[in-house]
């Protein structure tokens, strides 16, 4: 236990050093990086993904996965757009979008927590099913004529230059950090991720915890989808398509084990900062397209290989003396 703890701390330390190094490099290389407008753009350009990543971290620590997040984002946006095109007020549309997200998450959660199906299969079905529903709603149309206040909410600052989406992200960081690191709920999430059966025998309501996690994932995904609709001022059937991979990438880079049971919100937040700053810096230096994708891809490979490699070396080191003794 102590080993894992110290490893985690050093992984976060490494991430912190990398984040600071990238920030320093960016600031040295381009005069635009440190401008306030750019610092805000840096977040808002990916804000929907990073919001969902925070909840995804809880799910992966719980030894599950949610592949349907991007489809729920798209579905919530499409529900809003469809209702709007039918003359329903946007305020009602927002509530409907959030409700649909919560329901979609609850549907996932029911099959996973109460029926016991693997989350990989259930949410893969969700990825296809919710996206299909989104496409049926809008077909090939693009809905754009949202009211001015809705577009402004997504595109302009709410408190000074800071937009609503960034404030919500910060709020969510606070909630997930407290929820996971400082509450009984968080301890249960780790316990279930480490050993589901052991957690159940010690009286943890495993099913209800899992159900809550998937409902939270659905709700936050829907919120993120609606924010994306407001930021782009347009919704299509393919809104947010393919986002799930970027989201999972950031969580794994944050040191969360894909097998569950370990990882921390600090690591995830640092990984988010690392990816966003790296992307922004490369964009400002006019490095785009495949190079950008490639750099982040290599980073992920290293983040998966490095801890596993360290573990393998450690295990060999441990085994050797025992075999000699035997």
């Amino acid at each position: 236990m102590r080993d894992i703890g110290s490893y985690l701390r050093s992984w976060e330390g490494l991430l912190l050093v990398l984040v600071l190094a990238v920030m320093g490099f960016n600031a040295l290389q381009t005069p635009y990086y440190l401008r306030l407008a750019n610092q805000i753009n840096l977040f808002t350009l990916s804000i929907e993904k990073v919001m969902v990543a925070l909840v995804m971290a809880l799910i992966i620590i719980n030894a599950e996965i949610d592949l349907s997040v991007a489809s729920i984002m798209g579905l919530a946006a499409c529900v809003l757009a469809y209702l709007h095109s039918q003359g329903v007020s946007v305020a009602v549309g927002i509530l409907a979008g959030l409700a649909v997200g919560l329901l979609a998450g609850a549907f996932n959660g029911f099959w996973i927590a109460y029926v016991g199906l693997p989350s990989l299969a259930v949410t893969l079905a969700g990825l296809i099913g919710y996206r299909g529903a989104a496409r049926i709603l809008l077909e090939d149309r693009s809905i754009t004529d949202f009211p001015e206040w809705f577009n402004r909410l997504g595109q302009e600052g709410l408190v000074g230059p800071v937009p609503l989406s960034l404030l919500l992200f910060l709020l969510l960081v606070g909630l997930t950090v407290i929820g996971l690191q400082r509450s009984a709920f968080g301890r249960y999430v780790y316990a279930i991720g480490n050993n589901r059966d052991a957690a159940r025998y010690s009286g943890v309501d495993v099913r209800w915890i899992k159900m809550q996690l998937f409902m939270a994932s659905g709700l936050v995904s829907a919120l993120a989808g609606l924010l994306l609709a407001a930021r782009l001022g347009a919704v299509r059937g393919n809104t947010a398509e393919g986002f799930e991979l970027d989201i999972i990438t950031m969580v794994l880079l944050g040191g969360v084990s894909i097998f569950g049971g370990s990882g921390s919100m600090v690591g995830v937040v640092l990984a988010i900062l690392l990816v966003l700053n790296l992307r922004n810096g490369m964009s400002l230096l006019n490095i785009t397209g495949n190079t950008q994708t490639g750099v982040i891809g290599v980073l992920l490979i290293l983040s998966v290989l490095a801890p596993n490699g360290v573990q393998m070396v450690r295990e060999r080191w441990r085994r050797r003396p025992t075999t000699q003794q035997g």
């Binding site: 600071l20 320093g24 005069p31 440190l34 754009t144 001022g233 299509r236 922004n280 397209g289 495949n290």
Partner: protein, 371 residues
């Protein structure tokens, strides 16, 4: 463990020092960058040692995504115009990856505004989702021109440089079909890209309308319309399926560069070129061998190089304030001559510059164009 932490702390301090050193840099660098959009007020002396004193305009050419030949050709055209004008500013060719096209385009437009670029030329692949970013870029003082593919609502865009008139595509395809099949006519089928591509649908509809309404083409019988989804293998199989389904088929028209090359290869591989010809919209470099061996005797395309050249010219003139984006304004675009800004008849709002016309490629000119 302590050691590790000491070294981490050392690294951290190092990073902080780098960060701290970096902080004072921007104010020093920033003033040097600021005077770039000085435009015609001053003839930009410190930035423009060029002979003619052309005002400096920093420009970005943004394709739908990178790695596609026609977009590289458009960049070549833009570079040619860049040198010809002697713009002392920068010309950057930046694009996203295909799977990240929409978010990538939005990010590049936003970043260009942050960097203080003066103009951006977009082949829009994000529909109306690009509008907020394009509007923000305009508010930051940038000139925003679209080419190849416009912003549907025209919001946030100064004007659109259109390659060809969509109705013209139908006429050109009918004309090529007639020239291949002759006065006696025969059966033909369309191999299109995907049912979702707006431009493909518009071209097919225009083609069908010309065939139905113009008595000149009365003997041309359109028997089917299939989709190869702009995938080589799909298109290849669809072409072979057409031949099986219609034994007396004489012509496959593919208004897509992927489809036409795949269909021509299919006919060549099966030794069917004497019986079934292929035509449509294709790239000379990809079609040259099929045109010379008679599988695809005739096909058409506009020049993407010219499209890039014209787009650069009009964008530069707009950015320097030499012309205004208004209906009826006429301008000179170097070697390509004179053009007029008009209302875009294909959209509810918006202005366009129509490049046109098509170039028809045959055995006589395809080798020259393929170089």
């Amino acid at each position: 463990m302590k050691r590790l932490w000491t070294s981490l702390a050392a690294l951290l301090i190092l990073a902080l020092v780098i960060g701290a050193c970096a902080a004072p840099a921007p104010p020093a660098a920033a003033p040097a960058e600021e005077p770039a959009p000085a435009e015609e007020a001053e003839p930009a002396q410190e930035e423009a040692p060029a002979a003619e004193g052309a005002p400096a305009v920093d420009m970005v050419l943004l394709p739908k995504f990178l790695g596609i030949l026609v977009f590289d050709q458009a960049y070549q055209g833009a570079q040619e115009a860049h040198q010809e004008i002697g713009n002392p500013g920068k010309l950057e060719f930046l694009g996203p990856t295909p799977e990240n096209s929409v978010q990538g385009q939005i990010e590049i437009v936003t970043t260009a505004a942050t960097q203080g670029m003066d103009a951006i030329m977009i082949s829009n692949n994000a529909g109306d989702q690009i509008v907020p970013a394009a509007k923000a870029a305009k508010e930051a003082g940038m000139t925003v021109v679209t080419w190849d593919s416009p912003i549907p609502s025209a919001e946030g865009e100064d004007l659109f440089v259109a390659q060809v008139d969509f109705d013209e595509t139908g006429k050109v395809m009918a004309e090529m079909a007639l020239s291949i099949l002759g006065e006696d006519g025969g059966k033909l089928a369309i191999l299109s890209a995907s049912p979702d591509a707006a431009n493909q649908n518009a071209w097919n509809a225009a083609f069908q309308e010309v065939l139905e309404t113009d008595p000149k083409y009365a003997n041309l019988e359109l028997v089917d319309l299939v989709y190869g989804n702009d995938q080589s293998e799909d298109s290849y199989n669809q072409a072979l399926a057409l031949v099986d389904k219609y034994p007396d088929l004489e012509l496959i028209m593919a208004p897509t560069t992927v489809g036409i090359a795949a269909a021509a290869k299919a006919m060549q591989d099966e030794g069917l070129c004497d019986k079934v010809k292929v035509s449509g919209l294709g790239l000379p470099a990809e079609m040259v061998s099929y045109t010379l061996n008679g599988c695809a005797p005739e096909f058409a395309l506009w020049s993407f190089k010219d499209l890039g050249y014209l787009t650069y010219y009009v964008t530069y003139l707009l950015a320097t304030g030499q012309i205004e984006a208004q209906e009826g304004v006429t301008f000179e675009a170097g070697r390509m001559g004179s053009y007029t800004i008009e209302k875009d008849p294909t959209r509810d709002r918006g202005l366009r510059v129509l490049m046109g016309p098509f170039t028809i490629y045959t055995a006589e000119n395809v080798e020259e164009a393929a170089k």
